[in-house]
Every structure is written in C-alpha cells, then in structure tokens.
C-alpha cells in the first residue's frame, strides 16, 4: 500500500494526471505497442498450429519474432507502467487489473519456457499435436491479456 501511494505521488504521475494530452497519448501508444507485440506472437502461434508461413521452419519464425517481441515488449512496458503509477490507487483496487497481471505473468512464463522450447526444437522432436496445442494456448493467453485489459474500463 505505501508503495502504491508512493507511485501515485511521483512527479511523473502528477504530470501525466494533469496533462491534457500526455496520458491519452500514452494510452494510444500502449495499444499500438500491444498490437505489434500480439502480431509477433500470432505469426509464431499460427506457424506452431501448422498455418501461416509454413514454408519457414518453426524455429526461424520464432527467432525472427523474438527481436520484435523484445522491442515491442519494452514499448508496452514503457507505456503501461506510467499508466499504472498515474492511477496506482485505482488500479490497485481493481480485480480485473489484478487478473490481467496474473494472466500476463502466466503468458510470459509460458512463452519464455515451454513455447520457446517447442518452437526452436527439431520439427520431429514432438508429436504434431504438441506444437499445435502450445500455439493455441499461447494465442488464447495473449488475446486474453488484451481482452481483460480492455474490460477494466467497464467492470473495474
């Protein structure tokens, strides 16, 4: 709680709260960064599912997507964290926001561990249902994070 209050009281938070344009532009850039991120996730998941750019190996698509994911992920954080600290007191009490954070943690963990290992492994390493299942779970997790973020507006 004191940490949340400290975030709220920061100079940056105050500036964002009082500015006509800054906070709104941060929100818009956040959505753009999320879009780029989800795009790089989706192309890799489609490939895992056996669709999309099947002419390329799963590993090469996953490696290509990794760079995009890192840059877009940094942009997501750079636009997301200021939004959180600006309204830290409100977000702290929002069950949907907390849900989104847990889902995000699950999606990150899944992507960095199982999904990465399956994506870069030799194509014959696992029966074909494994990469398919991993692609489907990843897509559901990441779209789920996006959806729960949007719903905070309505159901806090």
């Amino acid at each position: 709680m004191p940490l949340v209050q400290w975030c709220y009281d920061l100079g940056v938070s105050q500036t964002l709260r009082d500015s006509t344009y800054l906070f709104a532009v941060t929100q818009a850039l956040h959505v753009l960064a999320v879009t780029v991120f989800v795009g790089a996730i989706a192309v890799c998941d489609l490939r895992l599912l056996g669709w999309g750019p099947v002419g390329q190996s799963r590993a090469s698509i996953a490696r290509g997507a990794q760079r995009v994911l890192i840059w877009a992920g940094l942009a997501v954080l750079a636009t997301g964290i200021p939004q959180f600290i600006t309204n830290a007191l409100t977000y702290y009490q929002s069950p949907l926001f907390v849900f989104k954070m847990y889902l995000l943690a699950a999606a990150l963990l899944f992507t960095a561990t199982l999904r990465w290992r399956v994506a870069v492994a030799d194509e014959g390493r696992w029966p074909s249902w494994v990469p398919r299942a991993v692609g489907a779970v990843s897509l559901v997790l990441w779209v789920g994070v996006t959806i729960s973020g949007r719903l905070i507006t309505y159901y806090g």
């Binding site: 709104a24 959505v31 879009t35 192309v43 669709w51 002419g55 719903l151």
Partner: protein, 166 residues
Amino acid sequence: MSSIVATFEWLEGLAWTTALRESPYGYPLLETSHVAFIVVFAGLVITMDLRLAGLAFNQAPLAQIQQRLLPWQIGTFVPSALTGILLFCVDPLRYYRNVLFLAKLTFLLLAGLNALAFHIKTSRKPAEGWDQDSSVIAMARLAGVASLVLWSLTIIAGRLIPNNWF
C-alpha cells in the same frame, strides 16, 4: 448535409441501437471484441510490413510472409470492420462530429489504397523472383514503411476518439 444528420438521428433512435447504447454488457462486449480483432489483424499486418520493409523476418522469402498471412489478415479484418460498423450505428452523430474518427477513417482508407497499389504492381511478377528483383524489393520497402505508418496512425487516432478533442 442535413439529410445525413437526419439519417443518423433515425439510426440512433432505432430500438436495437438504443438497446446496445444503454446495455451494461452488450456494448462493452462489442467494443472489446472490436479491439481484440483489430489487435490481431493489425498485428499480423504490421508483422508483414516489418518483413516488407526489411526490418524483421528477413530470413523468410519476401512473398512467403506476405502471401501466407493474407487469409488471416482478411479473416480478422472482416469481424473488425463489422464490429466497427455496429459501434458506429450505435452512436452515429457522435462519430460524425468527431475529427479523430474522421482522421482514423482517412488513415484506414489510405492504408487500404497502399495495400491495393502494392498488390496490383506486384501481381504480374512471380513470387519466386521477388527476392532477386531489386524493383520489387524497393517497392516492398516503400509499401511496408507506408503501411507501418498508416496503420499506426489508424490505431492511435482510433484510441484517441473518446477524448473528444477538436
């Protein structure tokens, strides 16, 4: 002009648009699905743009990413557009008078024209030869960068609509 306003007034007065506008669940679900479809659609378009511009996925042939993602882009664009049209019908006058909404539509139109121009210009060249053809590579770079900029502006303008600026 006034006939447009009259049509929009009629549209927003209909029973189903009114019900959606006032609903605690229907509207939030409609708007959320609009956002979710757009994020996947534009995400796949931007992924393709990054390849066309030579910024990522460069180990894949130029045409591979572009052609294999097209059905998925169309498949997510259609529901994005349908939910968008529904959202417009729920509150037509508000959008009609919103500069950022009109800006979003303009960027959307330009992005569509850019994609169409690229398809027409490359349609006669076999995909296998794209990576050896410097004119196609240059065209792809130009179309990719233009698409990145236009779709980014579409998303940013769209997200700024509710602030009622201008």
